[in-house]
């Protein structure tokens, strides 16, 4: 592996190396890079796509655009690396830290071509073909994500939502501000025991980045562009996902505190004419859902864009005001909230999306100092439904 150049990326504050290597050298660790992360997307499996043509071309030694790798985190050992061979050794020994930012499908195809070269008994020739690699070192997760999105404009881009999930997968089962992020397996997340489903938190963060509470499940280039615009205004030095989570946990805690512990009684639900199954019977359950977190993410993002807040930092003050303005262990606001959720369930064309929108308005009412509902749970629950209704039904 021969180093060709070294440039500092001022935007994401990371060093970028440019190497010339061979198919053989790259394939020594490429399979591990793919297997590193089980959240990484499945290969587009097809026999008649461009990848199959590419495979044939690779067998004949075609030149492909550089593959882009990133070595995550700070490691002093990396600071002393000057030569290509040293970096190659480092990658081989620290495969778990290496991510493919651009060229995942090409790597898959290269591996498939290797198997065919083996069949054709042309290994020596195949392994000697040249390949270009770019490697980012000392890059933080936000930088990785930003680069992934700016690079990933190919024919089959991964959705930002999926990339976020993959990138932050090391936070699974980790504790942040007393909350543990657990995988989405039935029955594993107990909101009362301070467990959040990892996927829900990613949904919420994705909504923050996109300024939209809607689930971003379809990959559209537009999404990437919109998201990149928002990201470009973020401070790259900190971990925004962590800040997002810390902010949410503060809000979650105060909402739980301002409601009665335990499940709502049947009589109370009847009193508010809530039919059928309520959205949740406890504040902790309602506010640990994907809907609640996407609504929160979108609300904070939108308010930040409108300069109504300056970021997650201001939540501390909002939480203090919620604490002061509302009595403890009072269920009224939550019952108003559930009553509105009940109406949404009966009327919405897309219930999940409508619930997300209602949550979004709820937080916006609650966090906006210029609103009459600021830090007032009952008013926020009530007025946010009116906002939702006027948005959806124009009434």
């Amino acid at each position: 592996m021969r180093k060709m150049s070294e440039i500092y990326d001022n935007r994401i504050r990371s060093k970028n190396f440019y190497f010339e290597t061979t198919f053989g050298e790259y394939l020594q660790y490429a399979k591990d890079l793919i297997q590193n992360n089980d959240l990484q997307r499945k290969r587009v499996k097809t026999s008649q796509t461009v990848y199959s043509l590419l495979k044939t071309d690779l067998l004949h030694g075609c030149v492909i655009p550089p593959l882009v790798l990133a070595i995550l985190g700070e490691d002093d050992e990396l600071k002393n690396i000057e030569r290509g061979e040293e970096l190659q050794t480092y990658i081989k020994e620290n495969r778990e830290k290496v991510l493919i930012l651009d060229g995942l499908q090409r790597t898959h195809t290269l591996i498939a071509a290797e198997a065919e070269a083996l069949e054709q008994k042309r290994m020596k020739e195949f392994y000697a073909y040249k390949l270009r690699l770019e490697v980012y070192i000392h890059i933080n997760k936000f930088g990785v994500l930003y680069r992934m999105l700016t690079l990933n404009t190919g024919q089959t881009p991964m959705s930002p939502r999926h990339q976020l999930e993959m990138l932050y997968s090391d936070m699974l089962n980790q504790e942040i501000e007393g909350v543990t992020l657990v995988p989405e397996v039935k029955g594993t997340a107990h909101a009362d025991k301070k467990e959040f489903i990892f996927k829900n938190t990613i949904d919420g963060f994705n909504s923050y980045m996109n300024r939209s509470e809607l689930p971003m499940e379809r990959q559209e280039l537009l999404e990437n562009i919109k998201m990149m615009e928002k990201m470009s205004s973020e401070d790259i030095s900190g971990d925004i996902f962590k800040k997002f989570l810390e902010g949410y946990i503060k809000v979650f805690d105060v909402l739980c505190k301002k409601s009665k512990p335990g499940q709502l009684e049947k009589e109370r639900l009847q009193e508010y004419e809530i039919q059928g199954n309520p959205f949740a019977k406890k504040v902790s359950n309602a506010f640990s859902t994907s809907q609640a977190m996407t609504g929160f993410g979108a609300a904070v993002g939108i308010m930040k864009d409108k300069e109504l807040i300056d970021g997650f930092g201001m939540l501390e003050r909002v939480v203090d005001d919620i604490e002061k303005n509302n009595s403890d262990e009072n269920d009224d606001w939550f019952l108003i909230f559930l009553k509105n959720m009940d109406r949404i369930r009966n009327e919405a064309k897309k219930i999940g999306n409508a619930q997300r929108m209602y949550f979004q308005y709820f937080y916006r009412e609650l966090f906006n100092r210029e609103s009459d509902s600021y830090a007032d749970l009952c008013q926020a629950a009530d007025k946010s439904y009116k906002m939702y209704d006027s948005q959806v039904n124009g009434s």
């Binding site: 997307r41 097809t46 991964m158 999926h162 499940e217 379809r218 990959q219 369930r345 897309k350 219930i351």
Partner: protein
């Protein structure tokens, strides 16, 4: 709306995941829907149909069991409900059985293209406002000569249509958890053009003039059996009492007029809900008055025929107000015609 079955697909469902492979191209992908379906039915034992219903109040929760002539034959639900856990039936075993069948058949009808399937959603392939009717072929055997087309008018009366945006024109009765559909009365059941009108034409948004003509076609169709009945009665009368021939000739002349048969259709051959009839009559009167035409205070059949003459012969003279009135009249007309269809009886 038609989607053809893609014959080269292998679809398997286990542990909440569909594994789909297209033999032709080698494309395969895994799809984990949000709902945990119950795959106890064999999908090829069921038929599905695509319907539309964009009425106010129709929601993701518009999930209904479907009864035809008192027999439970299947379900109608919005396609949205297949990709949501938020509705009331997300854990209902019976719904999940049918939902599995529907999702399986929807996948069967998909055209594959090269794309990333990690974020696959069935709604990327089908319109979001679609409703699916699914019925069990075994269950419908209990109904003599079952043909879903015979229920087109009834489905329309409940808000559903095969094209357009559903029945967004008439007042709809509130549906509880069951939709009960019925065939038209025996004497007019075999007039297939009635179904064609409701299947392909009436649900579409048209100009007021076209809409009126389309709805009036039902009246045209129904005055035919009215004529036959009336003739039969005259023949019977003549056989029983062959005197008063002049009077009978005058009667014969009368029944050959369209106006007479329309009046008879409304007054004697059907039972229209009084309120609907009065509302429709008011619209007819307003339109006729606005165009200086004569009308009868309470004879809805007479007034409808006068409106028909106005629209057919004096279309050019209708002013803006009349054109707006015609649109309102059409909605009411359709309301009334549905009553006429379902209560039509020979005398």
């Amino acid at each position: 709306m038609k989607y053809n079955i893609n014959e080269s697909l292998d679809i398997k469902y286990s542990e909440g995941v569909f594994k789909v492979e297209e033999r032709k191209t080698g494309i395969e992908f895994l799809y984990q829907p949000k709902l945990e379906f119950v795959n106890s039915f064999s999908p090829d034992q069921f038929e599905i149909r695509f319907l539309f219903n964009s009425n106010v109040g129709v929601s993701e929760n518009s999930i209904y069991q479907l009864y035809a002539d008192q027999i439970r034959i299947g379900w109608i639900f919005p396609i949205q409900s297949l990709e949501s856990k938020e509705h009331d039936y997300a854990h209902n075993r019976f719904y999940l059985q049918y939902a599995y069948v529907v999702l399986y058949q929807l996948i069967q009808r998909m055209e594959f293209r090269e794309m990333e399937y990690a974020d696959f959603r069935i709604l990327d392939y089908y319109p979001e406002d679609l409703h699916i009717l699914v019925y069990d072929r075994e269950n419908v055997k209990k109904i003599e000569d079952f043909d879903l087309l015979n229920y087109t008018v009834s489905l329309f009366a409940k808000g559903y249509s095969y094209c357009g945006s559903g029945n967004i024109f008439t007042t709809l009765e509130k549906i509880d958890r069951h939709i009960r559909i019925k065939r038209l009365p025996t004497s007019i059941r075999d007039i297939s053009y009635i179904n064609v009108l409701f299947e392909e034409l009436i649900p579409l948004e048209e100009s007021g003039y076209s809409k009126f003509h389309l709805i009036y076609q039902i009246v045209e169709i129904l005055i035919e059996p009215v004529f036959k009945c009336e003739i039969k009665k005259i023949v019977q009368d003549m056989a029983a009492a062959p005197n008063d021939l002049f009077e009978k000739r005058a009667k014969l002349n009368e029944i050959t007029t369209e106006k007479y048969r329309v009046i008879r259709l409304f007054n004697n051959y059907s039972r229209i809900e009084l309120q609907k009839q009065e509302i429709f009559n008011e619209f007819c009167k307003s339109l006729l008055e606005n165009n200086n035409q004569k009308y009868e205070e309470r004879d809805v059949g007479n007034n409808l025929y006068a409106v028909r003459c106005l629209v057919v012969h004096n279309l050019y003279s209708l002013d803006t107000k009349s054109r707006e009135l015609l649109n309102d009249l059409n909605r009411s007309f359709l309301d009334v015609v549905l009553d006429v269809l379902f209560t039509f009886h020979e005398i």
